[in-house]
């Protein structure tokens, strides 16, 4: 494997350098029907799960077939996506904000060949490459983070928990039987690159053990004041520590009782790892929404404080999620989002109906926002 230069000269990095050019302009990628009718769309309709038509004021139509995908994808897979887009869609496609792929055609007669092509493709292991769905009052793709495949702070895997969950919820990816759309999100640690805190159902990786301290290396690897300042609960203080060989080193001490395992110290200081096979696992949250429709946007609430990591398919987690979805499907009113339903019936009823244990972990004791979550009323349900 001989090194091939692109033209870059390491001795003169500024020579012919191009910077600050930004992304490519969006409109060079528009399919013709989109370019022509932008800003002049009259209405849209979901014809069946995963298939939409948008009708322009001009009468033009664009048919969209939405398919799910693992957001983790190889160039081999993307080449296959390109082949499909070349064959059916004049070489155009788009991705949605939830990692779905959208293939667009400009007339109805092109729809069936496209759908049949997509349905026919499977991976060697048997899973669909391009399952059609993810629209309307169903469950669309899960937005998620890197997990064990590429990150240093996760408390669980992302791609694996998502694959297991989407397998369990697959029927609802291809159906629209729910009272409203239901968004599932996954973040593999509290940093929440995936911002799951406003999802109908959120899967969150969580650590439960305070950081270990690698005293021998800490002062060499980290800025002590940054490690101390990183802690939101002031659980970390500077300390002098005697190593086994008698040398005294500058390090830190952690007040374990104050630690809520956010891992922010580890972000600032690699000598304070938290990961632990027994300590780490899954938190389930529910009832968040980001749309302003009917009720205000709301945060998800913690409904299961901890589920152990059960590799490779996390059955306790997927069973619990499935149970929540079924209970919601059975009990909520049409149009009612998961959180709107739980608010209406009361969370005490929610735990009852979903057969979830309510434990002390679920009562907020973090900062001032805790108070407003306690019940300041004699109104409640038995």
């Amino acid at each position: 494997m001989a090194f091939i230069s692109s033209g870059y000269n390491p001795d003169k990095p500024m020579e012919n350098r191009i910077t600050d050019i930004g992304p490519r302009k969006f409109d060079e990628f528009y399919p013709a029907v989109i370019a022509k009718n932008k800003g002049k769309w009259a209405y849209h309709e979901i014809l069946e799960p995963g298939v939409l038509v948008h009708v322009a004021e001009s009468g033009d139509e664009v048919y969209t077939v939405r398919v799910g995908g693992a957001r983790f994808m190889s160039t081999t897979h993307i080449e296959e996506i390109c082949q499909i887009a070349d064959k059916h869609c004049d070489g155009h496609l788009r991705f949605t904000t939830r990692n779905n792929i959208e293939f667009m055609v400009d007339s109805k007669d092109k729809l069936e060949p496209l759908k049949n092509d997509l349905k026919s493709r499977k991976f060697a292991g048997g899973s669909f490459k391009f399952p059609i769905g993810g629209t309307g009052a169903g469950i669309t793709n899960i937005v998620h983070t890197q997990g064990w495949i590429h990150c240093h702070t996760p408390a669980t895997d992302a791609s694996g928990t998502v694959k297991a969950t989407m397998d369990a919820l697959f029927d609802d990816f291809q159906d629209m039987r729910l009272p409203a759309h239901l968004r599932v999100s996954m973040a593999c640690c509290l940093n929440m690159c995936g911002a799951v805190h406003c999802s109908d159902i959120a899967i969150l990786g969580y650590h439960r053990k305070p950081p270990m301290i690698d005293h021998e290396y800490l002062d060499k690897m980290c800025e002590l004041p940054l490690a101390v300042a990183a802690c939101p609960t002031s659980a970390i203080k500077p300390a002098k520590v005697k190593l086994e060989d008698g040398t005294e080193v500058k390090s830190v001490a952690v007040n374990n009782g104050r630690c809520m395992f956010c891992g922010n110290c580890y972000t600032m200081c690699p000598s304070m790892p938290l990961a632990d096979a027994e300590g780490d696992g899954i938190v389930l949250m529910a009832g968040g929404k980001i749309s302003n429709t009917r009720s205000m946007p709301k945060f998800s609430k913690v409904v299961v404080a901890f589920i152990p990591n059960e590799m490779p398919r996390w059955p306790t987690m997927t069973d619990t999620i499935k149970r929540m979805v079924e209970t919601y499907a059975k009990n909520a009113n049409k149009y009612e989002r998961f959180g709107e339903w739980a608010d209406r019936i009361g969370w005490e009823k929610f735990f009852d109906l979903c057969e979830l244990d309510f434990t002390h972990h679920l009562i907020d004791d973090f900062r001032q926002q805790a108070y407003s979550s306690w019940r300041q009323s004699s109104q409640f349900k038995f």
């Binding site: 490519r24 729910l178 929440m192 398919r313």
Partner: protein, 442 residues
Amino acid sequence: MAKHETPLLDQLESGPWPSFVSDLKQQAEVRAKNEAGIEFQIPQDCCEDLLGILELSYKHGRTHWKHGGIVGVFGYGGGVIGRYCDQPEMFPGVEAFHTLRVNQPAGKYYTTKYLRDIMDLWNRRGSGVTNMHGATGDIILLGTTTPQLEEIFWELTHNLNQDLGGSGSNLRTPADCLGQSRCEYACYDTQDLCHFLTNEYQDELHRPAFPYKFKFKFDGCPNCCVASIARSDMSFIGTWKDDIQIDQDAVNKYVENDPAYPPEAGAHRGSRDWGEFDIEKEVLDLCPTHCMKFENKKLFIDDANCTRCMHCINVMPRALKPGKEKGCSILVGAKAPILDGAQMASLLVPFMPVNAENDYEEITDLIDKIWDWWMEEAKNRERLGELLKRQGFQKLLEVTELEALPQHVQYPRENPYVFWREDEVPGGFTRDIKEFRKFHQR
């Protein structure tokens, strides 16, 4: 024969949902065969080692990626995230496995030509593994070595006219919904504003000079498909000021259950039969302000009391449309829970015209004022929302030179502890105690 046995990961190949394990295995095989004759610039078997190290994490229940590593391209402080594995002897193919963030086009439309150009580069100089897309919106190229970073950047900029995205304490790659390109709800051109601001602030995007990350997100309407209200420091949500446009004939089509007018655009065409559409139950009763009525086959909306929640428009999209005087609301300060708890964005500007003609001058003025304040006052790793909480909403109004409005609050304060400023109280705070004592004995 696979390089590493992966009995745990193999169990993630079954089931209907696309298996990332199957995909990674096919990629490993394609690289091993190399029928295209690619001159790989990083280890050919990196995907096999990626499978191997992931299997080890599945066995141990812990990650095997080391903390960070400062790598990047010359002159930029973001766009590249260093990554090294903690078992390089076992998995030399992924010893260094850095990430590049490539700034996606607004709205995420692509041509196959563009994708193939990127993939061709990534097959030669990287692992061929990607995320389409990362949580912020970038195309994520997952896995390359340090010597390849400048080469990739050179090819991206010189051959593909394409720049990197943001990472670290800088402006993160802005992201948007597809907006007016294919959505009748969009109240402004999200893609144009997103693209304009991304280019306007290239320096802030590439060179970390901020206290912490800063995110712009652009939603075309209050449905908020990109979740700007929950995850961006500045959230631009399309809205309108005048009356919802009503097509009364189309309203009656919905009422008559005309099959060409399915409620919520057909979103409930699943295995469950919800029965006939009932405008009273499904629209009027669910309006949060109860500002609608339907009498004598005519829909009436008291627009002065409408809060533009989108429910009625979502349910009857062929009959109702946002008004004609369109713009956006600007909300600030959203963030995920790290560190002091999650924050939803708070309304700062109820209505802002979105005007491309003057290069979005009102918007860039506001951004500049907010950044001046945040860069001056924020502590290290303090998000805008946290500074807002620490110094108060009034401070934000002061620095942005905006008037207080009842729209800024859900309800007025419940305590009278007003920090009156001296200039607000006649005579000021300096008083004469001797003069006071003339009338009030000790």
